[in-house]
Symmetry: C2
Subunit: 294 residues, 2 copies
Amino acid sequence: MPDKIEEELKDRADNFDEYLEELLAGLNIHPDLEDPVSYTLLAGGKRIRPILTTAVCRMLEGELRAARDFGAALEFIHTYSLIHDDLPCMDDDELRRGKKASHIVFGEARAVLAGDALQSLAFEILAGIEEIDYRSRCRLVELLASAAGPAGMVAGQALDLKAEDQDISLEELKEIHRAKTGALFRAAILGGAHCADSEEKQLLSLEEYARQLGLTFQIVDDILDVTGSEEELGKKVGGDEAGQKTTYITLLGLEEARKEARAAARSARKALSPFGERAEFLSELVNFVLERQH
Amino acid sequence: MPDKIEEELKDRADNFDEYLEELLAGLNIHPDLEDPVSYTLLAGGKRIRPILTTAVCRMLEGELRAARDFGAALEFIHTYSLIHDDLPCMDDDELRRGKKASHIVFGEARAVLAGDALQSLAFEILAGIEEIDYRSRCRLVELLASAAGPAGMVAGQALDLKAEDQDISLEELKEIHRAKTGALFRAAILGGAHCADSEEKQLLSLEEYARQLGLTFQIVDDILDVTGSEEELGKKVGGDEAGQKTTYITLLGLEEARKEARAAARSARKALSPFGERAEFLSELVNFVLERQH
């Protein structure tokens, strides 16, 4: 089963990558910015966020083409944040998705601009999704903007920077991750539901699923930073420890962190129970996130 | 007359600043980011873009509260671009709106994040404008996103960086400005029209007005960089010459540049003729932009 889902995810990511290229080609981008904008965006990645959006939308029998566009907008936002986070004044990383970071290839100024451009494009895409009505588009803009902005992902990055050289508690670490990773996971999952005009009750279950899946993802990320190989991850490993960063491992130790991850994964699967068998793929996804090696 | 419009503009800018503070207080911003987000945004400025939006909307008898929100979103975008442009890896400016630049006060990382956050908030505001229907909101999101993104403002900044140490032609200089300054001017003016559901024919006249007003603004900016005082401008002067940057002055000389500015101002006023007396304020604004000393 783990093999099967891994294959399935790879297929979905490949399909999504193809669509992303097609979508990008249709956008209005000045020739001077085409390379900086597409470089990190098309450098691969697991595409877990857009896969989540589409899976939720399919489960709720919603408009799949709209979900695909929302997933694309999510990847634009996620990619802009990777480009900016890698800058020397931020996390100062030179490797991203197995390739040189944007600022290494294009220089810092163009990397800043590429990120800025990706963010604008994300909202341009959402406003133009023809398959859903204007109300749903506005809902998606609001969802993604608040997830990306200073109450979500950007706040997480600010908290993360502040925490770099100081001890923080488990609660504080969870707050950082809820903002930094959790906000976009939540948007990915609720966005899929918005493309299906889902009911309030379903949204609550999906929020809980998003919360627990995000937590699982983040704990496993910390574990892999200690146990994974650079080649498998496509980014620098041991970076957390080198910077004396607080992680689930420094706070709990490896064994306890693994236990926490398993508990979060269980809660994620439990949150899906109202959807019964229709949630099979989303449930398998939890296992994948828990057991992934990269 | 020039005194009267100056006073009027000051009043409108002050009113807008008050609204901006109120609006900001209602947004969801993590406490750690409140200061970096509000610092440059509330540091004053002429607020020419939101004043344009509201003036166009009033002329066309549109929904003024929506125009005010669109103007606010414009200032969020404009401010984020100032913060990012001032970064050491970009224009490396330490002074902005008469105060220390964001990265001097908060450090580079937080300045990057403040800009990123302002951009997200701009779109969050637009999606939530309750006074207009969802279709108009989507139109505003699309208008602002395309003006801000890699076919507009961000492209202008990329071209500007490239042009820094090389000779460019008058046509190339105009292309830079059309993107860098012109795109947001155009959005400001068309956004006001969208808040009034205006006709296609009116949009064409307003586009020409925007183009010529933007050009006037930019030539005068270059002139002031040579003739103005640092105190009056609230930013470093002579910066253009120091970096051997091509400007209207280096290309045309001071006198010819002044002539070009006057010609653009005439064309801007002429574009308003279909609106007759209702365009009085927008016409006075052209004179103000032409004759301003800061």
